[in-house]
């Protein structure tokens, strides 16, 4: 097949193959890992299966003041296009991730309450490429029950 653009034939065929693939297929290969983390100066509570945040991740939050960052839960979320799937981080919060098709993904944080519909707390957008390159997208806030503590949802490209 002659090259129309001056590119090598193989490169042109690869480009065509890439453009013809549905976006959903591309994104579905990529997953987002979400870690619910508790920022506190308290030691790990007895009997709780929390783990300490790994050092590279701790480095990302080093500007914050807490001594300990306990990983409460880790979930992996697919990144579909158009129909996000909600994944529970705990009994009280959930996220879903959606490929917007414009290079960004939208991550939505929900508050869960028994007997009630999940309540959208915050949608944020982040570059899909950035997440694939290892960037961190973090949602955080004050722990409403403990004055000095905070919660973090750390989102990274799936491992």
């Amino acid at each position: 097949m002659p090259s129309l653009t001056g590119w090598p034939v193989l490169a042109y065929r690869c480009l065509l193959a890439t453009l013809l693939l549905p976006a959903a297929v591309l994104s579905e290969d990529f997953k987002v890992e979400a870690r619910l983390v508790w920022g506190t100066n308290q030691p790990k509570p007895a009997g709780k299966p929390f783990t300490a945040l790994d050092d590279p991740s701790r480095d990302k939050v080093r500007q914050f003041k807490w001594t300990n960052y306990w990983v409460v839960n880790t979930v992996v979320s697919p990144v579909p296009h158009g129909k996000p799937q909600r994944v529970n981080l705990s009994s009280k919060c959930a996220i879903d991730v959606n490929d917007l098709g414009n290079g960004n993904v939208e991550i939505r944080l929900f508050e869960l309450k028994e007997g009630a519909e999940p309540k959208l707390v915050k949608p944020v957008q982040h570059s899909l490429k950035a997440l694939k390159n290892g960037e961190f997208c973090i949602l955080a806030g004050d722990d409403k029950k403990v004055w000095d503590d905070a919660w973090f949802v750390i989102l990274t490209g799936g491992r």
Binding site: K60, V61, Q63, K122, S127, N133, F136, C137, A140
Partner: protein, 161 residues
């Protein structure tokens, strides 16, 4: 000056004596502490010392006055009242950002720079610490938040108010 009590007492005992002085104990615990203070000189000294300190502090609350004239102080409040009634009761990310700056920029006058929340690889960006941030455009959302980003660290934080 009366210097009272030099001993190492269990913290729990000290706290209970404090609670007794503050009137926070029920009748049974109150009786226990009263017996302790009657028989233990150090417990009694702690109790007396706490009572004296408590009375002194309560009777001598520092006198502080507003450092502005009546008219000026009221004009500031009036201005805020007008602004508050004029704006819709939606989240004020501007004000929230101002307060956030106080968290990360303790020194007055320090600038904060936050890059836009988009693709990375904006070559030449030299944002190196979370302290050197600027406000980023926030997306409309039920909750207000402040965003800051470090290109060097490859991290973006959305702090939800």
């Amino acid at each position: 000056m009366t210097q009272i009590s030099q001993t190492i007492m269990k913290t729990e005992t000290c706290l209970e004596i404090q609670a007794y002085v503050d009137g926070e104990l029920d009748a049974s615990r109150r009786a226990v502490v009263e017996r302790l203070c009657a028989t233990d000189s150090e417990a009694r000294q702690l109790s007396d010392g706490l009572k004296a300190l408590r009375s002194a502090v309560r009777a001598n609350e520092p006198e502080i006055h507003v450092p502005e004239s009546r008219e000026f102080y009221w004009s500031q409040i009036q201005r805020r009242m007008s602004a508050a009634s004029a704006t819709a009761p939606t989240t004020d990310t501007g004000a929230a950002w101002t307060q956030w700056m106080r968290w990360l920029v303790p020194m007055a006058g320090a600038a904060a720079v936050v890059s836009l929340l988009t693709l990375p690889g904006r070559e030449g960006q030299t944002t190196t610490t979370l302290a050197s941030m600027s406000p980023a455009p926030t997306y409309s959302a039920p909750a207000s938040s402040v965003i800051y980003r470090s290109d060097t660290d490859g991290v973006t934080v959305h702090w939800i108010n």
